[in-house]
Subunit: 330 residues, 2 copies
């Protein structure tokens, strides 16, 4: 064909070798051999869909292990499903491979997807792979189900509601600093938290099914930014106490050396915890849930009438709100 170039040689082979096996558990994927996937939605369930794009060198260091890139790609999407209270079902993968990327990288990436999808009981249902002269660009689109009308939204918080977060806050930022060689303590733990966040799926499900949370979001842009989204959607302000933020042992160690970092932990991204609001009187139920799930759930503040923004207060009650409301990229 005059001037035409063929499809990247081996594209169909790559799919057959590395990606079709990831679709074996999902009949609706039609073996990745058809024009689209066909999925049956269980009766009484709503469909929840989220999608995230990661660019090498922007959203993860270009030298991140392929298995970790795979895990992060899946988990940032699953974290969004968790924030809605959804049960994950399947995902779609769009990969733009740089021509320089070796088959070994792709093989390891697919192996990482295989391990992680097994862990989360989901399967590949479709996608697209293309070549790019630019950086590795990966999109995953995750689908899940939610009992109709039970999804957690950002807009349901009420004045007086308590603000809670799961797990520990700030490890994502410290992990990024560790990956860049800017932090020497607890490197493996912190980089692990950055590369393999834990989507809080069980928590999201329980909050949705028990009707405990009035609003929820996942902490991807940073606690202050994501709670800020809840504020905007709910038309309320929030006050949180800096010294109530739940910190990992690694974060405490880092703060011993650099106490000035404390406020930054509230704006660092990539924690993939859930921030949620409940009626104030629901505290005992939330504490019982924390025990059931063996996951720390910490009350860090209150929703209040006022401008839709987050105020961070220090131990003396003074305003310690960092100027920057969150960051996303490297």
């Amino acid at each position: 064909v005059a001037g035409g170039t063929t499809a990247r040689p081996g594209e169909f082979d790559l799919i057959a070798r590395y990606f079709a096996p990831l679709a074996r558990g999902e009949a609706g994927a039609l073996g990745l051999m058809d024009d689209a996937a066909v999925l049956a939605v269980p009766p009484g369930r709503g469909l929840v869909v989220t999608t995230d794009t990661l660019v090498a060198g922007i959203h993860f260091p270009a030298d991140t292990a392929p298995e970790d890139v795979a895990a992060k790609l899946l988990r940032v999407n699953l974290s969004d499903l968790a924030a809605m209270g959804a049960e994950p079902r399947a995902y779609f993968l769009n990969a733009a491979w740089p021509t320089s990327l070796g088959e070994d990288w792709i093989a390891r990436f697919a192996r990482g997807l295989a391990e992680d999808q097994a862990h989360f009981a989901i399967a590949l249902a479709g996608g697209d792979t293309v070549a790019t002269p630019g950086p590795l660009t990966l999109t995953a689109t995750a689908l899940g189900w939610i009992e109709q009308g039970r999804e957690l939204r950002r807009g349901g918080a009420r004045a007086g509601d308590a603000v809670w977060v799961s797990g520990c806050i700030g490890d994502g930022l410290l992990g990024l600093m560790a990956a860049r060689g800017e932090l020497a303590t607890d490197r493996d733990y912190l980089i692990g938290r950055l590369n393999r966040p834990t989507p809080r799926l069980a928590l999201g499900r329980m909050l949705a099914l028990e009707g405990l949370a009035t609003a929820a979001a996942d902490v991807s842009d940073g606690l202050v930014a994501d709670l800020g989204h809840v504020c905007e959607a709910s038309g309320l302000g929030a006050e949180i106490a800096l010294d109530r933020l739940p910190l990992s042992d690694a974060a405490r160690t880092a703060l011993e050396h650099r106490p000035a970092l404390r406020a930054a932990l509230a704006t660092g991204g990539d924690d993939y915890e859930l921030v949620f609001t409940t009626a104030a009187e629901a505290a005992p139920a939330v504490r019982a849930l924390a025990e059931d799930l063996d996951l720390p759930l910490t009350e860090i503040g209150r929703m209040a009438e006022g401008p839709a923004r987050v105020r961070v207060l220090d131990a003396s009650g003074a305003d310690a709100t960092p100027e920057r409301g969150g960051f996303r990229h490297f």
Copy 2:
């Protein structure tokens, strides 16, 4: 934050200004303000999902008008839904913008999406936008519904079935040649066919609902390649007659000057017509459907027992199968 850079300034503004309006018609998009979209699937319907990634300079010339890029991005996905017989409902957009891309480009792109989504009665339901140091990389994921169990698949063809194609074949390749300055006749028509293919949604719906087609695929990689996928999935061979391929007036004119191009039209990509198979005795019903839809449907060959490949026969019955089975990229 030490070493951290903020999210691309204006990212949230871009979404609010250009993309949130595209989601107004879809309540499940939650205003693009939540962690995920929540869609209700009608009872008795299956969910059909397809996704395609387009890279500037690979899948479309980098200087293509933004409105045309928008239309193509939507339409290549809608064509996949058409090939399954699905009714389109919503789409998700993942955009990786080069930092050099001006806001004007994005504004025009969004305007193109607005026009095309209105034409096809769909709406934006979610997505992600990021910055990239590489080329503009766009992913759309389209969702549709299909009456349960009625979807058209590639694997259902039977020996003796007739092979049909809709519309005209080869305009995609000729449009590409025209866009490159390699063809001087009917440039506007042909480039229009390349940039704004017509997804055969009504045809796909009718084929599915009337149970007429035994297998179907859309012609994106090229007729020979896509019919080849039907062959593989159905475990059959196919023979098609080169002189039966339906050609546009523009293609006939091009062939007058360059008759050697004829076989290439069968392997050129980007036609976005449907190729489908029916029982031989269904020909009158297919012809009636062509009249109802005011869309040419042309019988071009037969499915047969044998190796899963497509043989192209010339007017004398000799094998004229082009060596290359299809191409996708620029």
